[in-house]
Symmetry: D4
Subunit: 211 residues, 8 copies
Amino acid sequence: MTQVRWDHDRESRTGVPEVVYGPGKTKAHLRQLFENEKGLRMASRLSDEQMDVLRDLATIYPEARMAVLNPRPKRNIPLVPVVTAGTADIPVALEAATTLEAMGVPVGTHFDVGVAGIHRLQSILPELTAARVCIVVAGMDGALAAVVAGLLRAPVIGVPTSVGTGVAQGGLVALNTMLASCSPGVAVVNIDNGFGAACLALKILGTERPD
Amino acid sequence: MTQVRWDHDRESRTGVPEVVYGPGKTKAHLRQLFENEKGLRMASRLSDEQMDVLRDLATIYPEARMAVLNPRPKRNIPLVPVVTAGTADIPVALEAATTLEAMGVPVGTHFDVGVAGIHRLQSILPELTAARVCIVVAGMDGALAAVVAGLLRAPVIGVPTSVGTGVAQGGLVALNTMLASCSPGVAVVNIDNGFGAACLALKILGTERPD
Amino acid sequence: MTQVRWDHDRESRTGVPEVVYGPGKTKAHLRQLFENEKGLRMASRLSDEQMDVLRDLATIYPEARMAVLNPRPKRNIPLVPVVTAGTADIPVALEAATTLEAMGVPVGTHFDVGVAGIHRLQSILPELTAARVCIVVAGMDGALAAVVAGLLRAPVIGVPTSVGTGVAQGGLVALNTMLASCSPGVAVVNIDNGFGAACLALKILGTERPD
Amino acid sequence: MTQVRWDHDRESRTGVPEVVYGPGKTKAHLRQLFENEKGLRMASRLSDEQMDVLRDLATIYPEARMAVLNPRPKRNIPLVPVVTAGTADIPVALEAATTLEAMGVPVGTHFDVGVAGIHRLQSILPELTAARVCIVVAGMDGALAAVVAGLLRAPVIGVPTSVGTGVAQGGLVALNTMLASCSPGVAVVNIDNGFGAACLALKILGTERPD
Amino acid sequence: MTQVRWDHDRESRTGVPEVVYGPGKTKAHLRQLFENEKGLRMASRLSDEQMDVLRDLATIYPEARMAVLNPRPKRNIPLVPVVTAGTADIPVALEAATTLEAMGVPVGTHFDVGVAGIHRLQSILPELTAARVCIVVAGMDGALAAVVAGLLRAPVIGVPTSVGTGVAQGGLVALNTMLASCSPGVAVVNIDNGFGAACLALKILGTERPD
Amino acid sequence: MTQVRWDHDRESRTGVPEVVYGPGKTKAHLRQLFENEKGLRMASRLSDEQMDVLRDLATIYPEARMAVLNPRPKRNIPLVPVVTAGTADIPVALEAATTLEAMGVPVGTHFDVGVAGIHRLQSILPELTAARVCIVVAGMDGALAAVVAGLLRAPVIGVPTSVGTGVAQGGLVALNTMLASCSPGVAVVNIDNGFGAACLALKILGTERPD
Amino acid sequence: MTQVRWDHDRESRTGVPEVVYGPGKTKAHLRQLFENEKGLRMASRLSDEQMDVLRDLATIYPEARMAVLNPRPKRNIPLVPVVTAGTADIPVALEAATTLEAMGVPVGTHFDVGVAGIHRLQSILPELTAARVCIVVAGMDGALAAVVAGLLRAPVIGVPTSVGTGVAQGGLVALNTMLASCSPGVAVVNIDNGFGAACLALKILGTERPD
Amino acid sequence: MTQVRWDHDRESRTGVPEVVYGPGKTKAHLRQLFENEKGLRMASRLSDEQMDVLRDLATIYPEARMAVLNPRPKRNIPLVPVVTAGTADIPVALEAATTLEAMGVPVGTHFDVGVAGIHRLQSILPELTAARVCIVVAGMDGALAAVVAGLLRAPVIGVPTSVGTGVAQGGLVALNTMLASCSPGVAVVNIDNGFGAACLALKILGTERPD
C-alpha cells in the first residue's frame, strides 16, 4: 500500500487534531489507525460497516457517524450551543458536537428551531447569549444563522447543510444565504462541514485559554 | 417605425393592465402613449430623462421610477403591507406600491425591518396579520420572506432584489432563499419585479371581489 | 432519539398545517406520528416501504406518495384546477391535489395539456376561468404557466418540475421560465413542490373566507 | 496592421457569405472592406459611428445595425416569417430579416405576438403554415418557439434574445426553454444570433433549390 | 389510472409523429400502446426490461434503445449522414438514425471521426457534401459540428451528448461549443436528443417534398 | 424622503456597530448622519465625491474608502495581523484594518505575501503566531488562507476578493478555495467583505474580554 | 457491432498513443484489443470486472485502474515527480504515473503533501527542482499547484481531482484555483485526467529528445 | 503609499520574470518601476494613458497593450508559433508573442485560421510541426486547440479568450472546450492569459537548454 505522510504535530501547531476521514479507507487501515493508539483518535463520515469494524476499539456515535478513542477530559467553560433549523440537519450538528466533546468542550444541542416558527428561539435565548461561540446548522433557506447572529455578542459559526429539495439541493442556497447575511460577523464553513465548524470553535475558544 | 400589436383586452381578460416598460422607448413614443389617453396608463423603469418627458402629462413617482395617468379610485379594503428588509430595496417596493395604488388598492409601507434585528417586526405585526395579502421585498440573504410567512395566515409574495455584494450580487441568493423557504406558501416572483408582485396581489385580492 | 420541537400552532397561526416529510423518517417514528392522532395528519414523499407501514393507519395515495388521516370535510367552493403539461408531471400535481383535498378543497385535475398542442387548453378553459386560483405543473420548458396566466383573472401558481432531459434536467429551466414569464402575476414555488403550491392556494382561498 | 486570412470561397463551399462583424473594426478598415467591392458585402452589429462611416458606400439599416452593399435579386419563393415575442426582440429579428433580404429571400415580419396573449398568433397562422422555414425570436421566457413549432410542418428556428430582467438577464432562460421545448424539431442558435438564424434558413431553403 | 390526452393529429399538423417516451411507463401501459396499433408506433429510451416486454410486438433496436412498429416505406432521397465524434456517442446517433429510418428516410452512419484526427473526415466528405441535411453527434469538446458545418452547403444539425469526464460531464460543454460555433448555420438541439434531431431533419427534408 | 428604522442598540446587542453603507446615499443624508454625532460613526464604500462631502466632519481613509468619526481608544491587546496575497487586495484589507482601528483594536498589515513566493511568509510568522485572530485577504486562487491556517493556533478569517481575471473574475474561485480549504478552521466571509471580517474579529476578541 | 475508425498513426503523429477507455467496453471487445497485440497497449478507468478479464493478457495496476501490455523500455532521464495533496488523489496520480512508466519514463511519487502542512514540501524539494517537468495532483482547494509552481524552473502540470465535499464536489474549485494561480506557468488539464497529464508530460519531454 | 514585497529572485527561482500588471497602477508608480531600471522590465494590460506615460522610457506595443524595457537577445531556437482562430483573439496572442520576444524567443504569428475553414491550417502545418511548443489562442467555440493538438508532436498551449457573444461571452465555453479536448495533451491556461501562456512556453523551452 502507498505510504502517506501523517502530519504528526498538527495539533500542537494549529490547535486542532487530524481526523481520520472515513470514505475510501479499508477496514484493515481503519483498525490499524485505532489499535494501540494512546492519544485521542477520531474518525468521521463512517459507513455502517466501518462503524462495525471499530466497535470494539472505540466509542461509536452512529448518528454522528463518528468513532472516538481517548477523548479529552471535559473543560470547565460555558456550553457551546449547537442549534439546527430542521431535523434533517441533526447528523451534521452531531458531527460538530461529538468533535467538540471529544476535545473536552461541553455542548448544548437544540434542534428544529427554524425561522418558520421564530418564537421557538425565545426559550433558548438565555443559553445562546451566555455562550462564547455558537454553531448554527441549517439547510434549505439557511436563514437561521442571520437571525441568531443578530441577537448575540458571541461569534456565530454557520454550517450550511445539503438538506433541501429543488433549488436548495446540495446546500448552495444555505451557504450563500449565510455568506450574504445582513447580520455582520457570521463565520461560514463548507457545506455539511460539522467537523470544520468544531475546529473553528476550538480555535476561537483557545485564544482565550492558551493551555 | 415598426408596428406593434397592443394587447387591448388584457385587463378584462386577466385582471391586470399592461404597463409601458420604459427601457428602449423613445421620447416621442412615450408621449404618444400618454397623450389623449382616457383610461389608466402606467409606465415603469423610467430614466430621469423619460420622467421629464412625461412630467406635464402624468403624475411622476421618481423613487418608483414610474408615471401614472388616471389612477383608479381607492377601494375600501384592508391595507396591503409592503415590507422591505433594507433601505436599498425601497425602489422595488415603491414600484409595487405605486402600481397597487394606481389600481385603487391602499398600501402600507414599512422599510428596513431586516432579520438582523428581528425585533423590528414586532411593531408592525398587527397590520401584517390584518392583511389579506402581504408583499415582502428583500435582497442580500432574502430571509425576511420566510420569517414573515411563518407568522401570517395571508399569502406572502416574496420579491427578491438585486441588492447585495459578493455572492449576493444580482439577487439569485435572495431568490433561491425565498423558493427554498422552510415556511410553506411563499409566492415568489422574478428579481426586482415589483410590478409583477403588484399584479399577483391584484389577482389574489380580485378573487374575493369580482367587480 | 433526539427530541424535536413540533410547531403545534402552525395551522392556527399561518393557515397551513405541518406535513410529515417522509425522507429519513424511521418506520417507528412514522407510526408514532399517526397512531392515536385525532386531528388531520398528512405525510409526503413516502417510499414504498413507508407507505406499507402506514397502510392500516391512514389512507394511502400511492401516485402522490402521501398518507392522509382525518381529512377535513369538503368546502363548498369552486374547483381548484390542477393542470399538468406532461404525464411525468402527474406525481407532483397529485401531491398538490391530495393536500388540497385533505384540507377540504375540491380539485379538478387535467393532465398532459402542454403547449406543443396548445388547442388542448380550449376544452378546459371554462373550468379554468371559473376558478379562484389555478395550479399549473410543468417541467421541460415550463411554458404552460405563462400561457395559462395570460388567459385568466385568477392567480396562477406555477410549480416547475424536475422532469426533463439535457438542459432541462433538475427543473431549473422550468423554474426560470415561470419566473421570467411575460404574463405578469404568476406565483412561483420551488421545484417539485406540490405541497407548497397547495399551501399557497389554501392561503389565497382563505383570505376570502376567514372561518 | 496585422494581416488576416479572408475565407474567400466560404459562400461557394457553405452557401452562406462571410459578414463583417462590426465590434473592434476601425473606420479605415470598414471603409476599405466596402470600397470598390463588386459583390455582396454585409456588416453587422455596427455602432452609430460605424454606420455613419459607411452611409455613402452602402445601404444602412439602423434598427438592424447593418450595412448592405449589392444585395442579391429577390428569389421567387414563399415568405420566410420572422416572428418576435416582444418589441425589444425587434433588433435581433431585423438582423435576421435584413440578412435574408440581402440574400434575395423575401421576409414577412410579425412583432409582439408573445404567449401572454396567445390569441395574437391566430391572425398570422395562414402565413406561418405556408412557409418553408420560420424564425421565432424571443427573450424573457422564450416560450413562443415551442408554441409555434407545435403548429407547423416547417422547421422552426428559435433565436433566444438577451432581453429580460432578473433571472432572464442575458438570455440563458430563453435559450434553455427553446432547447428543452416539448415540441420536437426546434433548431436553436446562439443568443441574439439573428445572422446565424438567417444563415441556417438559407441552408434549409437551399437544399430545395440547388441553383 | 389517470387519463391522458393523446395529441392524435400531431403528425398531420407538424410533420413529426409522437414517440412513446419510455422512462416511467409501466409494462402494461407500454404493451397497450403497441397492441392492435395499425399505424407507425415508436418508443424510445427503453430499459432492458421494457425492450423485453415489447419484443413480440415490435422490432427492437437494443443499441438505440427503441422499439418500432409499422415503419414507413423507404423514400427515394439522398442518404442523411449521421456522424459521431466518438464511440460513446453511438447510442444517441442510433436514436436519430432509427427514428429517421422508421419514417422512411435512408441514413448513412459514420462513427468515431473526431477532430483529434481530422484526416478521418476526408474519406466521408463526398457523402457529406451530397446530403440535403447532416446530423453531427458529439460529446466532450463538441468541436466536430463546427468543422463539418464549415465544409457543407447543407444544414448541419448538432446533437451534443452527455459523454465526457470532468468539465465535460453532462454535455453542457459540447452544447455550448455548438451554439458558439464560428461556422454559422449549425442547428442545435438538446443534449442527447437524437429523436429531436431526427424530427428536425424530417421537417427540413419535408419542406422540399410536400407529399 | 422615506423614513428608515435605525437599529439603535445593535452594538450593545451584538458587539458590532452599524456602518453607513455608502452606495446610494445622497450627500445631504451622509452629512446628516455625521453632523452632531457624539459617538463612533463609520461609513464605508464611499465614492470620491462622498469622501469630499465628509472631509470636514470626519477622518477620511481614501484607500479604505471609509470615513470615521470619534474612534474608540486603542485597547491593550496583541496586534491583529491583516495579510494580503497581492497588492490589488489592499483596499479590502484596509476596510478591515480601518474598522478594527476605529473600534480600538491594534492592527499589523502585511501586503503581497502570496503563495507564488511562499518564503515571504517566513519573516512575518512570529507576529502571526502571537496573534489571537488573523485576517487573510486574497483574490485570484485564494490559496493563502489555507497555508496560513495550517501554521497557526489562532482562528483565521478568510476574506476572498473579487481580484482576478478570467475564471477568477468576481471572487468565486477565491471564496470556494477558502471554503474547501484542506486546513480545517478557516472562517470565511463574503467576497470583498473587509467590514464583515473586522466584525467577526471583534466578536472573537470580545468573547475573551467582556468590557 | 458498429465498426469504428481506429486512429492508427496517432502516436507517430502526436507523440502519444491511444488508450483504451474502459467505461462501456464489453469484455469481448476488451480481450480482442489486447490479444495478439505486438506493440504497447494500455487501458484505463477499468472496473474490477474488466481488470479480471484482462488479468491473463496484461499487467494489471489495480489502484490506477489500468492494464498495460508491452511497456516501453525505461528511458535514461530524470525522474518525473508526481505529487498529491491528499491520499484520495492517489488513484488519479497513479493513472499518470502508470502511463508514464508504460512509455518508459521514470517516475517519483510523493503523496499527501498538501498545503495544510506546507513544511512537508521541504524534504522533496531537491527532487522537484531537478525535474524537467512535474505533475501536481490535488482536489479540495487545489492550492498545491500554485505553491509548487512558485518554487520550480520546470513546467508544472496541474491535475485537479474530483476529491472534496460541499463546494469542492466534482473538482471545479480545484480546477479554477489552478487556472487562477498567482504563479504563472501552470499547465492545467481536465479534472481527474491523469492520462492527459502524462501525455502532456510526454510531449514536453519529447521536445528535448526527438528520437 | 503602502509598501509591497517585490519577489526579487522570482526569475532565478522559476525561470519567468515578474510582469508589472497595469490595472490600478498610478502613473507615478509606473514611471518609478521603469526609470533607472537596468534589467528587463515588462508591463501588461496597459491603458492608453498608461502607455503614454511610459512612451519615453520603454518600447510600447499598443496592440499587445505592453511596454518592454531592455529585452533579452534573441535565442537561436525554432520559432514558437502563436496561432489564433479569429481576428478578435489577436490582442491576447500579441501579449503572448511580445512576452516571448522580450525574453529572446523567436515567434511566428498566424491569425484567423479558425475551424470554420479548416483548410487554412494546411499552409502553416510545416511551421507548426517544426516547433518545440505551440500556442493556440481561440475564443467562441475554442475548437482550434483540439484540431492542432491532434496534428503535432509538440505540446500545445491553449489560451481561451473572452471573445464571443451569447453563451460564449466571457470565454468559459472556449476554456471548457480546451479542457475537454478529445486530443490528449493540451496545456490550458486561464482565459485571456497570453502572459501565462508565454511563461509556460518559456518553462517548456527552458527544460531543454538550461543556460
